[in-house]
Amino acid sequence: MTQYEFLEISELRKLLDEKKVTSIELTRYFLERIKRLNPELNAYLTITEEVAMAQAKEADELMASGAPVPPLCGIPYAAKDLFCTQGIRTTASSLILDQFLPPHDATVIAKLKAQKAVLLGKTNLDEFAHGSSTETSAYGPSKNAWDASRIPGGSSGGSSSAVAAGMAPWALATETGGSIRQPASLTGLSGWKPTYGGVSRYGVISMASSLDSMGTMAHSVADLALTAEAISGQDKNDSTTGRNPVPQYFKNLNADLHGVKVGVPTEYFIDPSTSSGQVGMDEDVRARVIDGIKELEKLGAEIVPVSLPNTKYGSLVYAIICPSEVSSNLARYDGIRFGHVSKEAGDLLEVYTKSRAEGFGVEAKRRILTGTYVLSAGYYDAYYKKAQRVRGLIINEFAEVFKKVDVLACPTVPNVALTIGQAKSNPLFGYIADQLNIPSSLAGLPAVSIPCGFAKPKEGAETPNPEGMPVGMQIIGPQWGDQKVFNVGYAYQQATTWHKQHPKLG
């Protein structure tokens, strides 16, 4: 049988358009692969086989009818289990939503349905997206397709595990502070976090509303541009969506980097010897990313050293603002309208306190209580307001730098994928793992992470791939500069083959 698992969307599109394969055949191929690999990797929580086969049939009928075919018609995909899917179990990887059947689709899911894309299943994540490794999921961690003893990153780790293992050509993911870029980096994928407001949040289970951004992961930046175009745009159900028309990201891809100024922020190449709440960077990771930046220079870009001194405060601001918004958003789980209800509850108060005690995992409880604390009278000014003011400093600092450069290039994560088990013991794990993603998230900026080589991990057993684990480089752009980050990533991938490397799986 032909190998479809690692083909890019544009390659699958060509095969479908030339009638070399049907959507039903493709869908069946991916479903079989999921059945074979998912028991070990735990990327999917729910496999939507019946829905997928019905959607594939509809897609094949549309393609046979001679009517115009949308770009994602008949192409299978996976959705992080934070996107509401009408009538299909949606859990946020939390026991409190274990049996939740959404009455409606998220706007993004509805857009993909309209294109006749094919939903293969719902992927694992950290509970309510609280984490950077999928280890806080109520359904167990997902595994990295490159080495099953290691994390696939998180919170969108089910999506990264699925695409990296060839269990879906692309996946929907969400990011609040690194949850797309970090897992993409750790699994050798391309990942896109949009400008905040570029993609509707409607129907996506809320985490931290001023930060939540819906994006995609795929095998190439060209695929990211294609999927970005499909899911972006103003939504009457999300008043924070931008009002400008969606650019033709895919058609506008431009690999010419002459005249493009790429800023390299010193603070994103942490000296391994320093540690003030930050962890140092692996030497090999730093070297791979520097090689990546040299490649951009070779392709015509002008490299400009820049400084973002407030970077070090990003994770601290996030550690206040994120739990604050979480504590507010998770107040809706009250055991009354939907979600888990305790069988032990004697009165109304116990419906709340016991349902929430049984339904939420430890990280959700940690964030709810942290948020409750920093928002409470007496601490509000010292923590929440302070964090909001420093957030402003970070936003302004980026805005100033983007007067001098078009994009920024730097590492996505300070290290390669760690072994499973390390996140559990450290309540600060996520804030540290995502320290290079969080500042741009706080500023609502667009970014892509692209694979730029491999590095040997500093801990754990020898990796199956002798070169080690994937390393990612991120390209950050100014607000609404999504096309710029796509173009730089696209140029890099026209000249390199890191994005075409895949793990050897059965």
Binding site: L316, R356, R366, T372, S376, Q388
Partner: protein
């Protein structure tokens, strides 16, 4: 150094309507203290006179007409189906006022 004691943790849990176990209280006391220590360095940043930023879009209020939206009985049923208890098309809750 910021820190938080076990009584404060219990009070927060009451406010957040989460019943904690005896094991969870000291664990959360340690975790929250670590987090508060971690963010302590923000105090060094001079933010005098700076505005508080709650959102990044720069958008002003998005306003729509205040009109009822059509909803079918099927939609209503799909919503109610997720509720632990319903009666006559309503959510059913335990008594709010003690009789």
């Amino acid at each position: 150094m910021a820190s938080i004691d076990e009584n404060e943790v219990k009070h927060l849990a009451e406010l957040a309507r989460i019943k904690l176990t005896d094991e969870e209280v000291p664990q959360l006391q340690r975790d929250l203290s670590k987090i508060l220590d971690y963010v302590d360095a923000l105090k060094q940043v001079n933010t005098d006179g700076l505005p508080e930023i709650a959102q990044v879009t720069g958008l002003k209020n998005g306003i729509r007409a205040d009109e009822p939206m059509p909803a079918s009985m099927e939609e209503r049923d799909a919503i109610l189906r997720n509720a632990p208890a319903t009666e006559g098309g309503y959510f059913k809750v335990k008594e709010v006022f003690k009789s």
